[in-house]
């Protein structure tokens, strides 16, 4: 049986199911209990699991992220809720220097089964300090896994896998997607890490899209059919581990690729994926691999300006048409 539920509810169900299954799992963060987070994601959990397992913390990201790392090292499986992805800067040492390295530095004696749930995504009129998409920061650090759910279905399956993983996992949810609905099975399911999802098969160009950009690329692919261009859309689901094989196989077939991610374009997720394609599918490329990320500016508060900083279906379709026509003026 399947039913249509919101992204926020899918996340809520994943946490609840895992907390019922495993008493070692607990949730901690700002406003997670009584308020259910500003996005109303964890509402109702404190009623079922109590304040021992759904813990409201003070405004103290470095503190509770550190508590999470310690709890994970000593047998618990904490889910730490970081209210905005932008607050990652506050927990860099806890996540990148401690959680990511402890398994290695303890010679494999310690594990850190920590999930850091946070978000990304602009166009919510939340200004420069609450709109960033910082997945590239953590994807850069060996020892961390990074998941990027692109729908309610993906969110539930990936979060459950994250909670069961013995490594620290950072999961980025698109804050614009919390109210979006998708069909989600009632029965339990997991989505394994490192297995990309081909949302739409195509012949002429591969669109590799993460999280929020999956919808954008699906719309672009729809628009491209009018031009006789058949686009394949691939959601890698997790940046680390990354399903290189599926992406390369697709590009070898289509011979063109655009990589789209909502993080800043400079030194971003798109750069890494595009570079792998260029290196490993070089002799199959009929056009340069294109990258599309957020404009390299602080996210503006002005709605008119903010909208211009994020790739749109039109912009992606435009770029795809040019690549398919051999119009390379944008790279000259």
């Amino acid at each position: 049986m399947t039913r249509e539920i919101k992204f926020a509810q899918a996340v809520n169900e994943a946490i609840a199911e895992e907390m019922r299954r495993d008493p070692a799992v607990f949730l901690m963060g700002e406003d997670v209990a009584e308020a259910g987070t500003p996005f109303k994601i964890t509402a109702g959990l404190v009623e079922e699991f109590g304040t021992d397992r759904v813990i409201d913390t003070p405004i103290s990201e470095p503190g509770f992220a550190g508590i999470g790392v310690g709890a994970a090292m000593t047998g618990s499986r904490p889910i730490v809720d970081l209210m905005f992805g932008d607050f990652l800067y506050l927990v860099m040492d806890q996540i990148c220097n401690q959680a990511a390295k402890i398994h290695y530095m303890s010679g494999g004696k310690l594990t850190v089964p920590l999930v850091l749930r946070t978000n990304m995504g602009a166009t919510r009129r939340s200004a420069a300090q609450h709109s960033q998409s910082l997945q590239a920061l953590v994807a850069h650090i060996p020892g961390l896994k990074v998941a990027m759910p692109s729908s309610a279905y993906e969110a539930k399956g990936l979060l459950k896998t994250a909670i069961r993983d013995d490594n620290p996992v950072v999961i980025f949810e698109d804050k614009m997607m919390y109210q979006d609905k998708a069909f989600v099975p009632e029965a339990e399911y997991l989505i394994p890490f490192g297995q990309a999802n081909i949302l739409r098969p195509g012949r002429d160009i591969t669109l590799v899209a993460t999280s929020s950009m999956v919808q954008v690329c699906m719309s672009a692919a729809d628009a491209l059919t009018a031009d006789g261009i058949s686009a394949e859309v691939i959601d890698p689901r997790t940046l680390v581990p990354f399903d290189e094989a599926t992406v390369l196989e697709s590009v070898r077939k289509t011979s063109r690729a655009i990589v789209v991610d909502e993080g800043h374009q400079n030194y971003g997720v798109t750069a890494e994926i595009a570079s792998r394609i260029s290196e490993k599918a070089f002799f199959h490329l009929d056009a340069p691999v294109a990258r599309m990320g957020a404009m390299d500016v602080p996210v503006p508060f002005s709605p008119a300006l903010e909208d211009l900083t994020v790739p749109t279906p039109q912009a992606v379709a435009d770029r795809a048409r040019k690549l398919c026509r051999g119009d390379l003026r944008h790279v000259a």
Partner: protein, 357 residues
């Protein structure tokens, strides 16, 4: 005029706000920035300020009312209301406001839908990914002239695998860079063994010159100061080039047609050198003797145009230097005439008065 005050969205996932207390009474004068009301959300209690000065003409929600975000909770009028309204919140309260015959003022009936800009509203989040945002594209010809064949890795690999020579496609004048689709054209070419010279693209001759910008800029500044509608760069270059071409080719009495461009075509001008520089010239639709491109107003610092049967003269600017670049077919414009043309235009750029004399 009256201005509606709405329940603002103060939190991230806020659907409603609780009216804690009104800080002004109906009929009170209010100044912009005055705290009107205290509103409690699930995170905090905040004051909502008046966005306009005037009078609190209507209070449409009582203390303790839970009001959905976006609903009208008060009206501020410009004039003192005769009978200020106060009542508890009623969903869809906007209509009763308009129906109030007093206070809000029937004389300044609110034009439906026209008051968006005067509303006090915190913008609600809107998904804007559907918004059209064009990606600017620079327009620079990618074909490089290093002599290296430009082809995609895949086109190169397939050509090698299938024993196709990309040089044949070059010889046929097929535009680069080559993609896989171009291999089809390569397969259709007549037998590749046949006399490659026949397929060789005509080789253009090229001449470059540089002059300082000083006098040219001073001349244009003088034109701009003296004339209401001074000639623009392409018009000026067309005149200089036509004059130099006329002298170089010895065609004193012939009409000289110059096709003028900046980045875009500006039309074919007839005898631009024989008219005053400020005369408006109508573009004619005839094939031209000469193509001129004035790229001084652009970021382009150099270019190497491909072969064209018509001599093509380009002007670019780099710092204090103007660069002239002529590409021509030696058969259409003999080398001596080409040298004289470039020299003549360079002289006119260096000393524009020479053109007028």
């Amino acid at each position: 005029m009256s201005h509606e005050v709405i329940m603002p969205a103060l939190g991230m996932a806020q659907d409603t706000g609780l009216i804690v207390a009104w800080l002004k009474r109906p009929g009170d004068p209010v100044s912009e920035g005055d705290a009107l009301i205290e509103v409690e959300t699930d995170k905090a209690t905040m004051e909502v300020e008046a966005g306009r000065s005037g009078y609190l003409a209507a209070v449409l929600a009582e203390d303790g009312d839970e009001v959905p975000v976006g609903q009208v909770i008060a009206v501020i009028s410009d004039t003192a209301p005769e009978a200020p309204v106060r009542r508890a919140f009623a969903p869809g309260g906007a209509e009763p406001v308009g129906a109030e015959p007093t206070g809000v003022g029937s004389a300044d009936a609110r034009p439906a839908g026209a008051d968006w800009d005067v509303r006090e509203e915190v913008p609600r989040p809107v998904t804007a990914r559907e918004a059209d945002a064009a990606v600017p594209v620079t327009t620079v010809d990618p074909a490089c002239a290093s002599g290296r064949i430009l082809a995609s890795p895949k086109a190169r690999r397939l050509a090698a695998e299938q024993g196709l020579a990309l040089t044949d496609l070059v010889a046929a004048g097929h535009p680069q860079p080559f993609h896989v689709a171009d291999l089809e054209a390569l397969r259709r070419l007549p037998t590749r063994a046949a006399a490659p010279e026949l397929h060789a693209a005509p080789r253009p001759s090229e001449i470059s010159a540089e002059v300082p910008t000083e006098t040219y800029d001073a001349f244009r500044a003088w034109l701009a100061a003296e004339h209401e509608a001074p000639p623009d760069g392409p018009r000026l270059l067309a005149a200089f080039a036509a004059g130099a071409y006329r002298a170089a080719s010895g065609s004193i009495d012939q009409a000289i047609l110059v096709s003028a461009y900046d980045v875009a075509p500006r039309g074919v001008l007839r005898d631009p050198d024989l008219h005053a520089l400020t005369d408006p010239l109508d573009a004619v639709g005839e094939p031209s003797h000469l193509i001129v491109r004035d790229l001084t107003g652009t970021a382009i610092r150099g270019l190497r145009p491909g072969y064209a049967p018509v001599p093509s003269l380009t002007l670019t600017r780099a710092g204090d230097t103007l660069a002239l670049h002529l590409v021509h077919d030696a058969e259409a414009l003999p080398p001596e005439a080409a040298l004289a043309l470039v020299t003549g235009v360079a002289a006119r750029l260096t000393d524009p008065l020479r053109h007028l004399l």
